[in-house]
Amino acid sequence: MSSAPPLTDATVPTPLGHLRIGMSISESPDDDLAARGLGRMHLDHAFVEIARHLLAAGASLSYGGDHRVAGFSQILFDLVRTYDLPDKPNPERIRNYLAWPLYLSLKAAVRAALKSVAKIIEVPPPDDLGIDPKTFIAPDTVAGRRVWSRCLTAMRSQMNEETDARIFLGGRLTGFKGKYPGLVEEAHRAITSGKPIYLLGGFGGCTAAIIEALRGNPPESLTTEYHRQADPLYAQMLDTASLAPDTPVDYPSLINDFHCTGTTGLHNGLSQADNERLFETDDIDEMVALVLKGLASLP
């Protein structure tokens, strides 16, 4: 690892030192990004810049199985070292929550890379599933998809409990292995549990869909029928498997909750105008400034 410098100026304020921020940043569909004039590089850049500024302000970060944590472990290592806090050891600053069975296949090389960077939190499968936690189950059968849905929900639930606010950027609307597209499930959980959320809509994807739902214009990509058609195995799971004790898949209820919250119900420390700007801008400096402004204004 390179020798990144700890910042030793004790007078630098850390206004966000009491906050743990959940980061839901992932790729929008390629054609959505391309339509906006963006690519993977922009997303990677946003990932790093948001992390940089939050860590510099003293915040701790949580990711939910984001492959970038391993992919950018070197950068994250440098950042936590640069902006280290005397009372919080480096690996405490960043957490990477992994759902079962994803952590079973986590390579030793990745664990080694993350050793001084992040704490890996392996969320075990819910007891009532009665499965052997050491035996991988693939998501290519209805039973497998049901298990994955329950486990991803368990991970998201635990992560939500343990974060104070959440940032959303991008996100795929198809190809998910859980109950809902990941960012949709995470946003819904955050909103219904009263956590402030920041929706960075400039990169499109799930985040843009959530924004439309808040505005009362839910897109087709947030309907049961859309996902049934996109993924026949998912459709089979909806028809034949129960997710109890989790709530069943219910897009209309989700949409209703988003709409009831509306763009004015985010309670994230930002004015309506600032939130609208955050929904639209693709400028990373502006996004970062708005998020920091909101977080610093939280009660």
Binding site: S2, S3, A4, P5, P6, L7, T8, V12, P13, T14, P15, D31, A34, A35, R36, G37, L38, G39, M41, H42, D44, H45, F47, V48, R52, H53, A56, A57, F72, Q74, I75, D78, T82, S271, A273, D274, E276, R277, D282, D283, I284, D285, E286, A289, L290, L292, K293, A296
Partner: protein
Amino acid sequence: MSDTSQCYHPCLAVYVLWHPSFERGEELASQLYADLCNNPQRPAERSIGIPVRFRSGPGAPGERLPREVALDEASHSAVIVLVDDEMVADEDWGPYVARVCEQVQQSDGRHRVYPVSLSEYAFQLDPTVAAANFIRLHENSPENQPQLLLNRVTHEICRLLLNRPRAGDEQGNLAAGPAPITVFISHAKAGGVELAEEVRNYIHGNLQLKTFFDAQDIPYGAAWVEVLRESVGRSALLVLESDAYASREWCRNEVLWARHFRAPMVVVNAISDREPRRFPYLGNVPTLRWPTATALPYETMLGMLLYEVLRFAYFPRRLEELSRLYAVPLKNPAIPFPPDLLAALQLKVESAASGSPLFVYPDPPLSTEEMRLVRQFAPELCFTTPTMLPLLNKDSTES
């Protein structure tokens, strides 16, 4: 309290346009992004951070063209158009690019468009896109095109930034016509002339840069310094460090004066054998080993220099916008490089004059052991990077 959204207006945005069927378009665009904006794969490098946006894929499902270029979203927009056969052959793209050119023409010089020929037919794209304005790359091999493209684009963006008054600076130094960037080729006569002449000849044959080449161009003494002083902000020092360089008083003076005026600098390390004592003030700048193994050695050398000119031109402007965005007034000029003791020596004086101890330099922050030296030397000064701006309130910008 005004909304953040009303305060923010980026000073520069770059757009790269390419036809979706142009196989190398994405690669060339990504390379420009990595060089001009940020390369997360090379975190140790101090990137410039200019926002770069792409215009290639359809702007909406069912559309054939990308979304329009929003020139006025930034104070200056530089539009790079990669014109290949696919773009020329596609009936819709000519008018699309022509629209951009028309808007640029109406922008009173604030925005520019740089078509790049990647095909011999590129000049047929559209009558509005004049052949004279092209960056001509189609006769170069594909392996060389990325470096040449970056160098030409870097140079053009420097000219765009340096020939316009700064925001709010209406009485600014706007030359009657575009003033070229000046390269001072600093070299020792003993062992350095041949390389210096080769560099000068390359520049004259290939780039629109002015060169100053030793005492034959201008007299010794105060006049040289006056030329440097007058071209501050648009001049750069290229040090050709041969074996005898450090032993020459005038070479040493050139370096110290360039440092004094905070001119961008690159050192070409052309030591063939040894030097008894390396000049201590050649540090804190990019260096290039000479001869270099790259395919285009002079382009590599001049590309590095132009990149520094761009860094020095862009960082202060970006900092101005960030200071507005975060409502942190900054009384001192931006420092486009991490501070060293020589810089701190000058900044002590500037800080005493301005009354503010705060200086901002580009991310990433300087390493601890270096900063310790600077703090020891100038404990009254405070150095920080743009990342920390949101954490500074107005009070802490005074002492």
